[in-house]
Amino acid sequence: MLMLLWKCTCLVTLATAVGWSSAVGQKRATVTVSVELAVPRYRDRFTDRTAVQAKAASLFADYLTRNVGFLRFAADDSLRPYRLAFVLDRFDRASTSGFAEVGFWVRLERPDESPMESYWIQFRSADQSLVGVGGEVEFLSEIKAKLAHRDADSLRTGVLRWIPISETGLPNLEPLGFVLPFRLLDLCMKRQSTVQLIAEFGGTVVREVPVAALVVGSFSTDRSTREVAPYIGGGFAQVLPKPQPDELTPSIARHAVKVKKIFVTGYVHDPTACANRTPLAVGGGAP
């Protein structure tokens, strides 16, 4: 009886492990979202600035979760490799004028790389520079209103393209391409999106080669092996056109290609798929 119970437990564990690692169960990389108030008049306005920044970060995380499906965003203080900081600062940082335009800069902090930063959204124009900051509620409402009328294209094609959505992928020979460890629905991604993979070519000399691919559909196969099973249902990105000279095909045939990182470089958003997402529901966990 004990032996039977033991076997059942092992089976359940195995099934869970397989399910977890399948395309359906894969979790996207999580990015920590934070907000910093760099302009003194905003910084000094709130006595509990940390709390206000945290609430503002939640708004940004919520916004990103609804508009960027290929990553997960969490507004917390967890130490994750990737951190997206929205910094409320002057547009012209060299200026000391009190009449400067103020907006959110977005800064991506990533491991082993220098941070990258760009100006993303205007918060107050120079003409509005003498308007009071307002209370916490007004300030957060103003951020919410700004986000409601701002698309995330510049973020998707800007800083977010430098965050890998996964460090695994399945090379496929025919058609030539790679299977993503996620369903397209989970990525809120439509076909015609483009991805870039950093593929490691084995052999006498190991090389990392970037490969661009076009998402063309979902992956399915009749030959379900142990290696392939986790990727069934995942998005398939076809290498189009084939690189010349084609080193990829023989390397995949030799099973000498390993996916190191996958980046989304061109994102065709499926808004209906992400409409009901909230950051808390998908947040947490290491990438």
């Binding site: 009449f99 003409d127 009071g132």
Partner: protein, 345 residues
């Protein structure tokens, strides 16, 4: 022998000097009337007897006298005439007769002289018609409570009488709302005239204008504070909570803001990079100053420190030494250096 020679054995007659001739009754009357006239003029000067009132009384008296004469001519001695004869003319004649005696005459002259040499008056009026101001007068060598009165629209002159002085003058301090207290020497005989705005300099008013950071902080319910440097320490004069409304702040009496000043304001804002909309807002904010009441009077050469603080954080500051200008216009600036280090004048 001359007729004037004295007989032998007899001492010659000595010629005695003639005794001094005392002034007759007429001379004493004149002297007394002169004393009365001088005393009346002196009183009139200090009391401020106005010509119009004097004229009315003179006309009334003349009319009364004419009516009495008319009654005499028609042979009717009126009852009033008899009353005046009995109660006024007869006693007055008696008093005059008494006062023209030497002793009362000299006594009166001495009393009038002493009074004129030791009593005077101070008259205060404003150079601004209809100004309302509380005025006080205090002797510097006395600890008595200062005498006080108020200038109003209906009372254009305040007269302090009697004011004790000496033939060489006595120093008093005159103070008035909105003016810098001043010391004046009060001499006998003539009243001391003090004109506010001429003899007492108007107390300087200071207009503090917040700039960009200050305006925003005030809209976010910042506090405005003013201090004065006294004996090396900052003495807090006012602590004003703006209540979420930005404005400029006026310390002291309200003074007109000239159009020329506003032109300078526009240039100032433009020179500091304010866009057009912000410039307009600044002008509207500055044009309607809030009067910040203080309990003390400002003086030229006072050093004032104004600060705008939001949750204790210093947002803007201005330090200004007061001059003799009636309105001192100060633009506050954001603090870029160490906010704990307070500059002095």
């Amino acid at each position: 022998m001359s007729p004037s020679a004295a007989p032998a054995g007899q001492t010659p007659l000595q010629i005695a000097p003639e005794p001094p001739v005392e002034g007759g009754p007429f001379g004493r009357i004149v002297a007394f009337l002169a004393i009365v006239a001088v005393a009346a003029l002196w009183l009139q000067h200090h009391l401020g007897f106005e010509l119009e009132k004097l004229g009315v009384i003179a006309i009334a008296t003349a009319a009364w006298g004419v009516m009495g004469k008319v009654a005499d001519w028609v042979g009717e001695k009126s009852a009033m005439g008899r009353f005046i004869d009995a109660w006024f003319k007869t006693p007055l004649r008696a008093v005059l007769r008494y006062m023209t005696r030497p002793a009362p005459l000299y006594g009166t002259a001495v009393v009038v002289g002493v009074l004129m040499a030791t009593v005077s008056s101070v008259t205060v009026r404003s150079s601004v018609p209809g100004e309302r101001a509380a005025v006080s007068l205090a002797s510097l060598d006395s600890r008595r409570t200062p005498r006080a009165d108020t200038l109003t629209r209906d009372k254009a002159t305040v007269r302090f009488l009697p004011i004790l002085t000496s033939p060489f003058g006595r120093v008093y301090e005159v103070d008035a709302d909105g003016y810098v207290a001043s010391q004046v020497t009060v001499y006998p005989l003539v009243s001391r005239q003090v004109v506010l705005g001429r003899d007492l300099a108007a107390s300087p008013s200071v207009l503090f204008r917040p700039f960009d950071e200050g305006v925003v902080a005030l809209e976010d319910s910042a506090d405005f504070r003013v201090s004065r440097l006294r004996d090396g320490h900052w003495e807090r004069l006012a602590d004003y909570h703006a209540g979420g409304v930005a404005s400029s702040f006026l310390i002291g009496a309200r003074k007109p803001i000239s159009d020329a000043a506003m032109v300078v304001w526009v240039l100032e804002a433009a020179a500091n990079g304010a866009p057009e909309m912000a410039r307009s807002k600044l002008l509207v904010t500055w044009r309607a100053p809030k009067s910040v009441p203080i309990q003390v009077e400002l003086h030229p050469r006072d050093c004032l420190l104004a600060e705008i603080r939001l949750h204790g954080n210093l947002k803007e500051r201005a330090v200004v030494p007061l001059s003799n200008d009636p309105l001192i216009d100060v633009l506050m600036q954001a603090v870029t250096t160490d906010s704990n280090r307070v500059p002095t004048c």
